[in-house]
């Protein structure tokens, strides 16, 4: 039953793809998806193609899908294991997930996070520090990561 909603969402994304996001189902029952996100322009992630893994739980959409980066990213809100700090992907009360958001909304939010990191709620404290106080260093390192892992 829940797969029905997901297959509708995927069909919609195939017909009207969101900017810079591609989704491929990894298995027939759609429990895991592979996602490619193109690094937004005017960011150190430009020209990079980042791979993400989305696991869709049985109780989706009442329980949010879990999302993580497979490609290494230098970002204040993304850690070494690709975990993303975003309140939208967590269940209330800790997070702000709602069944109306959907996979597409979530992926758009993740791409937005690449554009505008949130150093006030960091996952990588030192990168956040760098982002705030030594922006040049941050940009240089993020570009280097992008070239090394995402191109």
């Amino acid at each position: 039953m829940q797969r029905q909603r997901l297959s509708r969402e995927l069909a919609k994304m195939r017909n009207t793809p969101p900017q810079g996001i591609c989704v491929f189902p990894k298995d027939d029952n759609l429990s895991s998806l592979e996602v490619k996100i193109v690094g937004p322009d005017d960011t150190p992630y430009k020209n990079g193609v980042f791979t993400l893994e989305v696991l869709v739980p049985e109780r989706y959409p009442f329980v949010p899908p879990s999302i993580k980066f497979i490609t290494k990213v230098y970002h204040p809100n993304i850690d070494d294991n690709g975990r993303i700090c975003l309140d939208l992907i967590k269940m209330p009360p800790a997070g702000r997930w709602k069944p109306t958001i959907g996979v597409e909304g979530l992926l758009i939010a993740v791409r937005m996070l690449l554009e505008t990191p949130n150093p006030e709620d960091p996952l990588m404290a030192d990168i956040a520090e760098e982002f705030k106080n030594h922006k040049d260093d941050y940009v240089r390192k993020a570009k280097m990561y992008t070239e090394k892992y995402a191109c």
Partner: protein, 502 residues
């Protein structure tokens, strides 16, 4: 030769007999079948009279109300013109057929003697006439039309009028009201009924049709006239306020078990007349659950169940001061709590049992009580706030300390590691082996809980950390305290700086 001729004769005689027998049987069967048909077509109805008597009559659904009056009037010693028939808040007009009234087997009609209109209190005669002329349609029909917008009403009227309202029950009919029936113990289609809010008599006619669910669910919205004893109900109320209609619901899928056989209206479950897709699975189904938020978010019933089960296992139901243990719209709309908690009866018996248990526990904790920590007990105890020695009086009898939820002790509570290995000295002999086995099981589960969990610093709900950072948010819906897994105190900036990830 002669033998074979005889045999032929015998055969022809036998075939004649067989044929006649066949014919007789056939006509008998036909008669029987015909008799049966008339029986299935009739409807056993009770008619309550103003004198308080109840008549049982068999009616044909194709008859009209005039026929009914002709049957009932002689039994009351009246002429048919002197009787009016009231059903579900409406006087039924002569030309309406039984089939149009949506009567179930053993429904109750009310027969009242028409009184001289000058005797009626306060209401002028012409209004009465007007009402009688207009409101000859049964209430079940008029409410449907009133409840939905004009575009839907065409679809409604096409199903409520006409011959498809057969007593045998047409499954293609759109159901308009859904109820939780305590007899069938499940979701059923329901039917609306009206009675006097003062004397509870069903011989009651409404002055106007309810326009929406508010008119039906809230008391004292629609005025009417109690036909049972208008003077009495008006006089006792001292003519200070009019008599009001009280609406109630019955299950339409089992034969009525009398006047007390009522069902709870599940008014958030509605026919999906506008083909709205479910917000969770995007399927268009019928009926649907419409959340009481300003947006009116819709889920299918399967997704509603799924939503409830998810929230229940996460203990994320909310203890609402007025409504009880309930849920809000899954889209996060404000002010959208489900008021009628019988909607959670859509869950299975086991899930509903869990809902009730969690609801009770939450209520006890909210009221400043404690839950007995003994495995398998969990009795809720409301004790004096200063008292630390708690005895599980109505439950298992365990005596425990309110602060550490361990067996009662004098002095400071022991730390987590110290108190697991108590009670294992001095009683190595004289122990009942079965009791010993039980005790070990309990100890084992205690150890498991101790190893894997830490209590929330605020409400002491045992919390398991299955990964992620050290920033914990208490999962109990009423608590939601932000705390640090390392410090076991409130989460601070410092925790974030020094040991956010361990």
């Amino acid at each position: 030769m002669s033998g074979s001729a005889n045999r032929l004769q015998l055969l022809s005689v036998m075939s004649f007999f067989i044929n006649t027998l066949k014919n007789i049987l056939h006509t008998m069967l036909q008669l029987l079948w015909f008799g049966k048909k008339t029986i299935t077509n009739s409807l056993n109805i009770y008619i309550k009279t103003s004198g308080g008597n109840t008549l049982s009559v068999d009616l044909d659904p194709s008859w009209d109300i005039k026929n009914v009056k002709e049957i009932v009037a002689p039994k009351l010693g009246l002429e048919p013109e002197e009787v009016k028939i009231i059903f579900a808040g409406k006087e039924l007009g002569d030309s309406i057929t039984i089939a149009e009234c949506d009567l179930g087997e053993q429904s109750i009609l009310h027969a009242v003697k028409i009184k001289t209109k000058t005797k009626l209190p306060d209401i002028s005669t012409d209004t009465i006439d007007e009402i009688e002329e207009q409101n000859t349609r049964p209430l079940c029909g008029t409410l449907n039309d009133a409840m939905f917008s004009s575009e839907d009403s065409t679809r409604n009227s096409s199903t409520t009028s006409g011959s498809d309202l057969d007593v045998s029950g047409n499954s293609n009919l759109r159901v308009h009201f859904f109820v939780f029936c305590p007899t069938c113990k499940t979701l059923k289609s329901g039917k609306i009924r009206v009675r006097c809010n003062f004397c509870n008599s069903g011989a009651f006619t409404v002055h106007s049709d309810p326009q929406n669910w508010h008119d039906v669910l809230e008391p004292k919205q629609i005025t009417g006239l109690c036909e049972n004893n208008p003077e009495l109900c008006a006089n006792i109320l001292n003519n200070r306020e009019p008599t009001f209609a009280e609406f109630y619901f019955k299950c339409s899928e089992h034969i009525s078990l009398g006047e007390k056989d009522e069902a709870v209206p599940l008014y958030l479950i509605r026919p999906n007349l506008k083909d709205v897709p479910c917000l969770a699975c995007a399927d268009v189904s019928d009926p649907v659950f419409v959340f009481p938020c300003s947006e009116g978010h819709v889920t299918c019933l399967d997704c509603f169940r799924q939503y409830c089960v998810t929230k229940l296992t996460e203990r994320q139901f909310w203890q609402h001061p007025e409504y009880g243990y309930t849920l809000a719209c899954p889209a996060g709309c404000s002010d959208s709590f489900i008021k009628e908690i019988h909607h959670f009866r859509l869950l299975t018996e086991a899930q509903y049992g869990q809902y009730q248990r969690f609801g009770t526990e939450e209520f006890v904790l909210r009221s400043g009580g404690v839950l007995c920590p003994q495995p398998g007990c969990g009795m809720g105890i409301l004790a004096d706030p200063e008292c630390t020695k708690i005895t599980c009086i109505n439950g298992c009898g365990y005596v425990f300390c309110r602060l550490c939820l361990q067996g009662y002790h004098i002095g400071e509570c022991q730390t987590a590691e110290g108190d697991i290995n108590i009670n294992n000295e001095g009683c190595l002999y004289n122990v009942d082996p079965t009791r010993a086995a039980e005790a070990r099981w309990d100890e084992a589960s205690k150890v498991t809980i101790k190893v894997l969990t830490k209590p929330c610093p605020k409400c002491r709900t045992p919390t398991e950390r299955d990964g992620g950072c050290m920033h914990m948010v208490c999962t109990r819906a009423g608590c939601q305290f932000h705390w640090c897994w390392v410090c076991q105190t409130a989460w601070t900036r410092e925790c974030m700086g020094s040991h956010w990830f361990g």
